[in-house]
Symmetry: C2
Subunit: 207 residues, 2 copies
């Protein structure tokens, strides 16, 4: 019999997480997402109450959007690296990342913005009814929340889990206060692997 | 005056890390690397004594290899996503990642190995005098340590910081016991962003 060793390792890892965490405060589908972030980071901090925070329609919105092959705008290539490619192909989800676009770099310099901010502005036409996943740059998250508040864009979901010491915590607070469906976390932690894990978990939830 | 906001944010982040961590047990060049891992993860755990572990010639070996444009074999695309592309271009460092190679997937199935293991075997010809950076798969790290122990390959440095619940800790212990110069950590934590941060820090150290 052919065994998928990789799959086996993943299943065993999830069992260890379940066992060591024990009781938690998340709902079933929330926990499926939180568990995948922990699997990606080996950081049990994410299991604490209200460490990962879900807007009430976020999970369903995310699933519905992915199911019909929405566009997915990400802030850095690291998020793309962590995404399960087969899901993207199967559901015809197009991923957009403008961070390495040289034109974006030139514009950022010209307008005295961060490259991350400018790359979000450059991706505007892909954001309506799409998903935006920010794993690295707080300034990228602040920019998209501003665009939502100004009604420039209307995404179905923002996954906002940038990491860092300057503005990361604040950018996530801004996201929580906005009216756009979100999945985010409290505090400085996060990262592109976390953002990718959340998207991967949403795909799983629809299967 | 034109200000590089991104650079400014990074400098301020580093100052916060310095201030909040205070005293630590690392040497100057070790700390430059550890600090960059903390900057990437916002996880102060990495500052603890012996959390990140350095073979005595690892840093110098890594710098020397990158300086002359060595090859860099990585286990997942997420590591590539986190690397500063300008450094790679400036120093003509060629990055190899075979994880998405369909031939590797077929071979892994045939020989009942993980895709990560097989992708390392597939990259053998790039490993001598090169750097290997593993941020995701313990099985990839185990495979390269085995190849070193069997004298099949002789890399200048292995950065082994895979994350996970099955074999991650053990794979890093194996690496520490081998004779190849290494940078690794103790425990389950790690990730592709950490592996990339270490390589980025090595580039910085040579400037």
């Amino acid at each position: 019999m052919q065994i998928d060793i990789g799959k086996n390792i993943e299943d065993m890892s999830m069992q260890i997480i379940e066992k060591e965490i024990g009781k938690h405060q998340y709902t079933g589908s929330e926990w499926a997402i939180v568990k995948r972030v922990i699997h990606t980071t080996a950081d049990f901090d994410f299991a604490k109450k209200n460490k990962i925070i879900f807007h009430q329609t976020a999970i369903q919105n995310g699933i519905n959007a992915l199911k019909i092959g929405c566009e997915l705008v990400v802030d850095v290539n690291g998020v793309i690296g962590g995404l399960h490619k087969k899901n993207l192909i199967d559901f015809k989800v197009n991923v957009i990342c403008n961070i390495s676009n040289t034109m974006v770099r030139d514009k950022a310099k010209k307008y005295n913005k961060t490259i991350s901010q400018m790359s979000m502005r450059e991706s505007i036409m892909h954001m309506n009814d799409g998903i935006i996943a920010i794993g690295n740059a707080p300034t990228a998250l602040i920019e998209v929340v501003k665009m939502c508040n100004e009604k420039v864009i209307k995404p179905k979901l923002i996954v906002g889990i940038p990491v860092g010491f300057i503005s990361a915590t604040e950018s996530k607070e801004m996201l929580r206060k906005s009216k756009v469906p979100f999945i985010t976390n409290a505090g400085r932690k996060g990262g592109s692997a976390c953002a990718a894990a959340i998207i991967n978990a949403l795909f799983r939830l629809m299967m």
